[in-house]
């Protein structure tokens, strides 16, 4: 199949449809709006439903309802809109329903700005709403990778009955690249969805969607079950790219589009004779802790350098994984400013 030039936001919309998404609920916000605009017409081609809700709070609760009925439902937004959705995401996580959420991060705090940022890292990977829950969080760095992740996101969401978040930034949403789309996915047999409140015609038991457990022991049991699920994710779903790390003295680490700028820096540094590598987590939760262990324990690795568009949120996970075994240097930009390749090269040269 020939590659097509697609904008990140629109490519994610197309990949969602091909991956089985049939319901979209959302409210427009820069730099994500093209995703909902695309689905506003594209979903009709496949008999789906598109609703521009009156608010983000409504959108996430529509997702909650649709997911409870067994549908493949998507919502997308950018940072301030995702904050509004946190209560609903917490309910969906507790009720163990599958859904997919896209966050094309912009700068904050508050209404912030519309330029790229990674400052929602902690919100995405540590829960975000109230309570002890996690999402399966992906941080794609190219449009093709975003497409491939989105294509399988609903399968993962249903397999684990968990909200899946695709965490991009304004750059990924606005960028155009050639992409190859997979074929329209065959939908799973709805009778296999044992959580879906479809009436009782698939079985005799009542199906209840709930997140309220007044009795402490019952609520603890729910929490234990959720934690077991997150352990399973840690065991089975970690994805990470290791780029030129084998012989590297310095290992840069970054995720998403920032990792692409770092990749250019790795090439530039190697041309100057500084052996540099890159660890790029693709899943942000579960975090590729063992990859960091491997290089933290290696005699070859001298230092790590974390690069991010937030003030150390991502670096906290890096530090936890390096466990003090090697120095971890840090460089960031904030508020929608993006570092250049030269800035990263200079930072590495400074600490080398």
């Amino acid at each position: 199949m020939a590659k097509k030039l697609f904008k990140g936001n629109e490519a994610l919309g197309e990949a969602a449809v091909l991956g089985g998404c049939r319901f979209f609920f959302g409210y427009p916000i820069t730099p994500q709006t093209e995703l909902s605009e695309y689905l506003s017409w594209r979903l009709y081609d496949v008999g789906g439903t598109f609703i521009q809700s009156e608010s983000e709070v409504s959108a996430i609760n529509m997702v909650y309802g649709a997911a409870g009925a067994g549908a493949r439902a998507l919502t997308s937004s950018s940072s301030p809109g995702i904050s509004l959705k946190q209560e609903g995401i917490s309910y969906i996580a507790c009720a163990e329903l599958p859904c997919v959420i896209v966050n094309m991060m912009r700068s904050g705090p508050g209404l912030g700005g519309i330029m790229p940022s990674q400052a929602d890292y902690s919100q995405a990977t540590k829960g975000g709403g109230h309570g002890d829950y996690r999402m399966l969080v992906y941080g794609p760095s190219t449009i093709q990778e975003a497409v491939d992740i989105m294509y399988n996101a609903f399968d993962k969401a249903e397999q684990y009955r968990i909200p899946v978040m695709i965490l991009g930034d304004g750059m990924l949403g606005q960028l155009m690249e050639p992409v190859e789309f997979p074929p329209l996915k065959q939908m799973p047999d709805p009778s296999t969805k044992e959580w879906a409140t479809t009436g009782t015609h698939y079985g005799k038991d009542r199906r209840i969607v709930n997140s309220l457990y007044i009795v402490a022991s019952e609520n603890e049991a729910v929490n234990i079950k959720l934690q077991a699920k997150y352990d399973l994710l840690r065991k089975n779903e970690v994805m990470c790219e290791e780029y030129m790390c084998e012989d590297a003295d310095i290992i840069i680490t970054a995720y998403g589009t920032v990792a692409r700028i770092c990749k250019s820096a790795v090439k530039a540094l190697r041309e100057k004779g500084i052996k540099t590598g890159l660890i790029r987590p693709i899943t942000l939760f579960p975090f590729p802790t063992e990859v960091f262990h491997k290089y933290a324990n290696s005699d070859k690795t001298k230092k790590f350098v974390t690069i991010e568009l937030s003030t150390g949120q991502y670096n906290e996970d890096v530090l936890l994984s390096v466990m003090g075994k090697k120095p971890v240097e840090f460089y960031c930009r904030m508020g929608g400013s993006v570092m250049t390749v030269e800035e990263i090269v200079n930072k590495v040269k400074e600490v080398y």
């Binding site: 960028l175 690249e177 050639p178 993006v338």
Partner: protein
Amino acid sequence: MEQGIICAGFGGQGVLSLGKMIVYVAMEKGLHVTWLPSYGPEMRGGTANCSVVASTEEVASPLVSTPDCLIAMNRPSLDKFINDVVSGGMVLINSSLIDIKVDRKDINVYYIPANDLALQHANERSSNIVMYGAYAKLNGNIGSMDEFEKILIKQFGKSADKDKIISAFHAGYEEIKV
């Protein structure tokens, strides 16, 4: 080979479309490409630009901070990016709207009266097409004249002004003497 390009001008001059057409030519050639528009507050202020990367290898960073090629459609765009152009790089200047000369000696500068040529051959809105023609002449490694023209016809094949637009393209192409 990797070329980082910045196309810059004010809103309505077609700089985003210009970048996109270059991307299509490079794509046809089998090159790896990225196109990143300015979507930030500067867009709301009336100026626009896009970063294009065309490469024989997979594109790492889609951001172009030090362009190999700058296409400046107006004065603020030239002022903003001229010092970032790499030594040995090329700059295409819309001399219809930019009345200064660049004093850097380490880059190749081409002055193209894009608005005048556009008016002469098609209409004022085609100044980006004139620049596209000039870019085509200077970048045989991205595509031949025919390959650039093919993409143009794909974009404007159904337009009533198709012939005029193609004529504007050739005017830009011929304006560059190499």
